[in-house]
Amino acid sequence: MKKLLNILGMLLFFGCEPFVTEFKDSSDVVMYEASTKSNATYDNGNIKVVTWNIRFGIARFPFFGDSCGNDVILDDDTIEKNMAAIADSLDAIDADIVLLQEMDVSSKRTGYMDQVQYLLDHTNLNYGCYASMWKSDFIPSDGIGRINAGNAILSKYELTDVERIQLRLRTDQDVLTQYFYLRRNIVKSKIPALTQGAKDFYAVDIHATAFATDDTKQQHIDKYVETLGEIHSSGDYFVTGGDLNSVPPGSVTDFCLNDMCDGDDYHTNQAEEFHKEGSYFENFDGEPDILLPLYEAYDSAIDSDDANLPIHLTHGPSTSYKMNEIKYDRKLDYLFTNGIWENTSSKTHQAAWELSDHLPVSAVLNVVGE
């Protein structure tokens, strides 16, 4: 009988992994290393950083979730080709630190490719960490199936003291939807090789909510500001960025008509939803200026005065280039530091528009410019 109970106990332990993974406020992340490391020794020079939401390597595939498409699962060959092109772009940018969002590491929709490992093995980057924002054995909707997607920091230098910081869940969803929905996060890592004198050096990556219509976005930005403030007040350096899913102050805030798909109806009394989720940036008081605290407290790679210029737009719904010839029409992706960016080196890499619905933004930290 004792043996039977022991066996049952083992089955319960090993056979009852959560169906949907939930996270504590602060938790560990998954660490990675390239299978073959390139030589990278920090020479006390400037540090190049890039942020990029790579849309899990499906490029401008008409995915059902964030464009006017109806498709869910891309074929393996095309994903491999897209990831190779993303790896080539990252090598061309040649950043020391890469902040990535929407990485798949074991998802049905992308053929279970571990995209973090792929990029480490196909670029000059050596170390990585990954924090899941959506991890479930099976999503019983739209054929999504098994999913593990999240944020990653890749670097030429070793990452330590890595932390996944949970962001508040949306409150505008029913319990069942929320259970199977994303659990967004901030991922923070120390990079000892880049320590500047007595100041530790951190990289912080975020992907804030896109579709919430309640105050979740405000909560996410507040938590982000708090996280950065803690590093800053400790006297340490950080470079940070990500997909904030917020427009800069002074931007247009209503993209519903740009993003409207065939058969949709917005801005009319008959419309089921007056505004399209994710396309409207005035859901609550103060949302248009939600990024002001970041601009005011830290140095932005793209100044707020320039942020709405066409050359700095970073996002366009994936199929809009086919429908309305819009490759990119808003800025959602940012880089900040509590140091100083090189004045002329910041760039939005719009030539990469075909590789994702977001564009990479890079900047160079002027280490001696303080």
Binding site: F14, G15, C16, V20, D71, S106, S141, D142, G143, I144
Partner: protein, 262 residues
């Protein structure tokens, strides 16, 4: 209603292979006796040498039929051949859709498919236990393009539907059944499903059930099923039934009824 049907069908995968009243042994039902469970197929003793079964609920969306025919004893083992045919296409196309309960991506249209399985069963009472050995071959025929991305990568489901993607597979297993009192019985089994060449090429299923016989015509079963196997994403294991939102295993409970046709 569709959701209810889906949950019921998935749950029946857990319960469907219970062997009580010797469902999966080489022994046939007595002539004119029928048995049915909440999750178990309807079985009927057609004659002294032929038994057939269908899952009534599955039948309308996944037509299926199983025939068991007794054979000559071999080395003291009672023997039987079991032949199964199933047409899963209507059900799979029901769940290939957008939105909630879209289990297969709407990108895919499932072609007409036919599953055929042939098994050999051998049963013998040894040391007070009924022991059954079984093994067999599975064939899956798709009459059209079956996209390899349309698999359902879940325990129990993946390896049952895998035969259509792999065109063939093998299965084998052992069942041990013992009555520990007049009213209480125990059943333990292990079944291996192999799909050579497929990404995610095996699963091992183990079940332990405790049965309480209220009468000759009614019983209640409870227990668990454990599945371990290789999937397209790697190895995985799961204790079933598992309730996702509660994140816990719960014991399976099955009610079964039987009667003899007059």
């Amino acid at each position: 209603m569709k959701n209810f049907i889906f949950y019921f069908l998935i749950a029946s995968l857990v319960f469907g292979e219970t062997k009580k009243w010797d469902a999966h042994s080489a022994y046939l039902l007595p002539k004119k006796r029928w048995e049915i469970g909440l999750f178990q197929p309807f079985r009927y003793g057609y004659s002294e040498s032929i038994e057939y079964s269908v899952h009534p609920l599955w039948f309308f969306i996944m037509p299926n039929f199983i025939l068991k025919r007794s054979q000559n004893d071999i080395a003291g083992f009672s023997s039987a051949g079991q032949y199964k045919i199933i047409y899963p296409t209507p059900f799979l196309n029901m769940i290939a859709k957008a939105g909630i309960m879209g289990i297969i991506a709407p990108d895919f249209q499932m072609p007409p498919m036919l599953g055929i399985a042939a098994s050999w069963l051998m049963s013998k009472n040894m040391a007070g236990m009924d022991i059954t050995l079984n093994s067999g071959l599975d064939l899956g025929v798709a009459f059209g393009d079956l996209d390899s991305r349309s698999t359902i990568d879940l325990p129990l489901v993946y390896h049952r539907l895998g035969v259509y993607y792999n065109t063939w597979g093998m299965h084998m297993g052992v069942d041990v059944q013992k009555n520990i009192s007049e009213k209480i019985g125990v059943l333990a089994d292990i079944d291996l499903k192999a799909l050579p060449g497929l990404k995610g090429n095996y699963s091992l299923e183990h079940k332990l059930l405790l049965s309480w016989y209220k009468s000759e015509n009614f019983r209640v079963l409870t227990g668990y099923k454990f599945v371990i196997g290789e999937y397209p994403y790697g190895p995985d294991m799961r204790l079933l039934p598992y309730i996702p939102m509660l994140e816990t295993w719960v014991p399976m409970i099955e009610f079964q009824w039987a009667r003899k046709k007059q």
